[in-house]
C-alpha cells in the first residue's frame, strides 16, 4: 500500500465504568467495575477502500465504530484521520473541519431518523450545519439531488420517516450521511435490520456510491457473507480484541484463527451439500469478567496450557495477522 492511509487506528482501547452508583457501592460494599470494550485494536484503511470488522455480541465492534468517528474518546491509543489526530487537544480547529468529512450510517432504520422531521429536512441538516450552501433554494436543491442519488423520488422529501419502509429509511440515512460530502463513512451494521432482498438493494447501492464518489468505508457486521461482498480487508474481533486480520479472499480461502473458522462454519449451508457441521460449544463470555490468557480458550478445541495463561499477540502468518498460539506454534 503506497498511498497514505486515510484512516489509521492506532492501538486504540476503550474502557467503560460500569460501577453501580456511589450510594449503592457504599451500602453494598461493592468494588468499582470496569468493562474493557476494546483493547489494543490497530488497523488502517486506504482511501476508496472498505475495511470490515466482524464479530458477535460483546466483540466491541460497535465501540470501535463510535471511536472511529470520534463520538467517544478512546481511553488509550489514537485515531488519525487524514493525518489529523482525533484526540489531540491542540488541533481542535482542524478536527472541526474534519468532522464534515466523517459520517456514519447506523443499524436501526427506525431509530436513526428523527420521527418528527421530514426526510428533506433530515438530509438538509448537515448541509446547513456545515454551511455548505446558504440559500434555502440551494439547500433544498441539494437535498433533492441526494434523494435521487440514493434511488428515492425527490418528492419523497416531504414524507415523515414512518411513511417509509425500512429499506427506504436506510436510503434516507445514507443520503444524510452523504450530505456533508464526506470521504469516510462508518457503516454500523447498516443492513442487519433489513430483509434479505432489501439488503441486496442497499449493499449494491453502497458499492455504487463508493465507486462514484470515491468513498472509504469502515463496515461493521456480524454477517460474514455480507462482508465478503463488500470489503477488501477484514478484521475479526472477539471480546474487544482483533484475533485475525486478513485480505478478504485469504480469510475465506484459508481462515486461521479457530474463532474465524468457527464463524465460517456457523454460516448455514445454502448449497445443501449435506456436510455435517459441528457447532462450537459455549457462548461469548461476559466482557466484564473475561477468561484469563486467550479469551477464546474455553471454547477452543485447540487450547493448551499456554492458552490458558498467556494472551497471544497479533503476529503475521502469511498475508494475515493472527493472534493464536496454536497458529504460532504451527499446531494448526
Amino acid at each position: 500500500m503506497t498511498a497514505d492511509p486515510l484512516v489509521d487506528v492506532k492501538n486504540v482501547g476503550r474502557t467503560f465504568d460500569v460501577s453501580k452508583p456511589w450510594l449503592n457501592r457504599m451500602i453494598e460494599h461493592l468494588p468499582r467495575q470496569f468493562l474493557a470494550a476494546v483493547t489494543g485494536v490497530s488497523f488502517s484503511i486506504a482511501p476508496r477502500e472498505t475495511f470490515a470488522l466482524v464479530g458477535e455480541s460483546g466483540s466491541g465492534k460497535s465501540t470501535v465504530a463510535k471511536l472511529a468517528v470520534g463520538l467517544i474518546p478512546p481511553s488509550a491509543g489514537d485515531v488519525v484521520i487524514a493525518g489529523v489526530s482525533m484526540n489531540d487537544p491542540a488541533r481542535r480547529a482542524e478536527r472541526r473541519r474534519l468532522r464534515r468529512r466523517i459520517q456514519m450510517v447506523f443499524q436501526d432504520p427506525y431509530a436513526s431518523l428523527n420521527p418528527r422531521c421530514r426526510a428533506a429536512d433530515i438530509i438538509a441538516e448537515p448541509i446547513r450545519a456545515f454551511g455548505l450552501f446558504q440559500r434555502r433554494a440551494e439547500v433544498a436543491g441539494q437535498a433533492h439531488e441526494l434523494l435521487r442519488l440514493v434511488g428515492l423520488d425527490p418528492a419523497d422529501g416531504r414524507k415523515y420517516p414512518h411513511e417509509f419502509s425500512g429499506g427506504q429509511r436506510q436510503r434516507v440515512a445514507i443520503a444524510r450521511a452523504l450530505a456533508s460530502q464526506p470521504d469516510f463513512i462508518v457503516c454500523d451494521e447498516p443492513t442487519s435490520a433489513l430483509d434479505v432482498s432489501v439488503q441486496a438493494q442497499i449493499l449494491n447501492l453502497m458499492r455504487d456510491l463508493q465507486d462514484r464518489l470515491g468513498l472509504t468505508y469502515l463496515f461493521i457486521s456480524h454477517n460474514l457473507a455480507v462482508v465478503r461482498h463488500m470489503a477488501r480487508q477484514i478484521g475479526v474481533m472477539y471480546l474487544g480484541r482483533l484475533v485475525e486480520m486478513s485480505p478478504t479472499a485469504e480469510l475465506f480461502a484459508a481462515p486461521r484463527h479457530p474463532y474465524t473458522r468457527m464463524l465460517l462454519d456457523a454460516v448455514p449451508d445454502l448449497d445443501m451439500t449435506g456436510n455435517p457441521r459441528k457447532p462450537v460449544e459455549g457462548e461469548v463470555p461476559n466482557p466484564i469478567d473475561p477468561p484469563k490468557g486467550c479469551a477464546f480458550h474455553p471454547r477452543c478445541p485447540y487450547a493448551n496450557a499456554r492458552c490458558r495463561v498467556e494472551r497471544p499477540a497479533l503476529l503475521a502468518a502469511g498475508p494475515a495477522l493472527v493472534a493464536c498460539h496454536a497458529v504460532e506454534e504451527a499446531r494448526l
Binding site: L71, R96, M104, S112, N114, E125, A129, A173
Partner: protein, 307 residues
C-alpha cells in the same frame, strides 16, 4: 390507500381527529370545557352583573334564591349570596380566575419541569442526581403543603400591603412550583431513552451543540406524555387553587375564584341557602371532570400501542 386531496381534508383524516370524533364522551367533555372557557373569557361582556362593582351591589338583594324558586328574582338567575352578588356572574368571573391560575401554573410547572427533565436526562451524572434528589425530596411533601409553604413565604416577603394584586401571581407561583416534579421525571425518562437513539448520535456527529440537540431533536419527541400530564394537572391545579382559597390562603375575597365562592357558600349550606355553594361547586366539578376526560382521551389517542 387514496390520500385525501386537499390540506384541510388531510387534517381531518388524521388518526387523532378521527378517534376524537368517534368518542361521544370526549366530544361532550371538549364542548363543556370549551363552553366554560369561552364563558369565562368573555365574562365581562356576557355576565349580567359585575359582582365586583360595589356600587351595583345592594344588601337588599342578598340571600335571594334562584330565579325559578318562589322568592326568586329574574334578574339573578342563580340567586345571590350574602352580599347581594349575582351567583351566575360570580361564577363566570370566578371561573376566569380559576382557569387563569390553573393555566398559568401548569405552564410554569411544565416549563420548569421540562427544562430540568431534559437537562437531568441528557447530562446525567452529578447534575442528574442533584435534580432528581431535589425532586424526590419535594415529592415527600403533599402539594398543598408545598403550595402553602411558598404562599406563606411570599406573603411574608411582600408584606400585607401589596397582597391584593400579587395574590394571583403568588398563587400561580406556589401551585406551579409544587407540581414541576411530574414533568421532570417523565421528561427525564423519555430523554434517557431518546438520547441513545441513533438520530441523536447523528446530530452529534454533525457537531450540533447539546442545547441545539436537546431542543431541536429530543424535546419534540418527549412532548407526548407531557401534554397528557398537563391536561390532567390543569384540573388538579384548579382544585388546588380552590382548596387554598377555601382555606382562606388563596385569593382575597375581592377576587373570588370558584373555590372562594364555595368557601363562602359553605357557611350558608345549613341555613338552607344551598345555591351559593352548589352552583360554583357543580361548575368546578364539571370543569375538572371534563378536563380529566379530555386528558384520558389524549393519553389513549397518543399511545401508539393502542392505535
Amino acid at each position: 390507500m387514496t390520500r385525501p386531496a386537499g390540506g384541510l381534508a388531510a387534517l381531518f383524516d388524521n388518526d387523532l381527529v378521527h378517534s376524537f370524533l368517534h368518542s361521544k364522551v370526549t366530544m361532550v367533555a371538549a364542548l363543556v370545557t370549551l363552553a366554560i372557557v369561552l364563558a369565562a373569557a368573555f365574562a365581562p361582556w356576557i355576565a349580567p352583573h359585575d359582582p365586583f362593582d360595589l356600587r351595583q351591589l345592594s344588601l337588599l338583594d342578598s340571600h335571594l334564591p334562584p330565579a325559578w324558586a318562589p322568592d326568586g328574582d329574574r334578574r339573578f338567575l342563580l340567586g345571590t349570596d350574602d352580599q347581594g352578588r349575582d351567583v351566575l356572574s360570580a361564577i363566570l368571573y370566578g371561573a376566569r380566575i380559576s382557569l387563569g391560575v390553573g393555566g398559568l401554573s401548569v405552564a410554569l410547572a411544565a416549563a420548569l419541569g421540562i427544562v430540568l427533565g431534559l437537562v437531568a436526562g441528557y447530562a446525567g451524572g452529578a447534575v442528574d442526581s442533584l435534580i432528581m434528589r431535589a425532586a424526590d425530596v419535594q415529592l415527600t411533601f403533599p402539594a398543598i403543603l408545598i403550595a402553602l409553604l411558598i404562599d406563606g413565604t411570599m406573603r411574608a416577603l411582600s408584606g400585607e400591603a401589596r397582597n391584593e394584586e400579587t395574590a394571583f401571581w403568588v398563587l400561580v407561583l406556589s401551585i406551579g412550583l409544587s407540581s414541576w416534579v411530574q414533568y421532570a421525571r417523565t421528561v427525564r425518562g423519555s430523554t434517557l431513552v431518546e438520547k441513545n437513539k441513533d438520530y441523536v448520535l447523528a446530530a452529534r456527529l454533525i457537531g450540533l451543540s447539546p442545547t441545539s440537540i436537546l431542543f431541536r431533536h429530543v424535546l419534540p419527541n418527549v412532548m407526548g406524555p407531557v401534554l397528557v400530564i398537563a391536561t390532567i394537572n390543569f384540573g388538579l391545579a384548579i382544585i388546588l387553587e380552590a382548596t387554598l382559597s377555601f382555606l382562606g390562603v388563596g385569593l382575597p375575597p375581592t377576587q373570588p375564584s370558584l373555590g372562594t365562592l364555595i368557601s363562602i357558600g359553605n357557611k350558608f349550606l345549613f341555613a338552607g341557602e344551598w345555591w351559593i355553594a352548589i352552583f360554583p361547586g357543580a361548575t368546578l366539578a364539571g370543569l375538572v371532570l371534563a378536563i380529566n376526560l379530555l386528558g384520558d382521551w389524549l393519553r389513549d389517542a397518543l399511545n401508539p400501542k393502542l392505535r
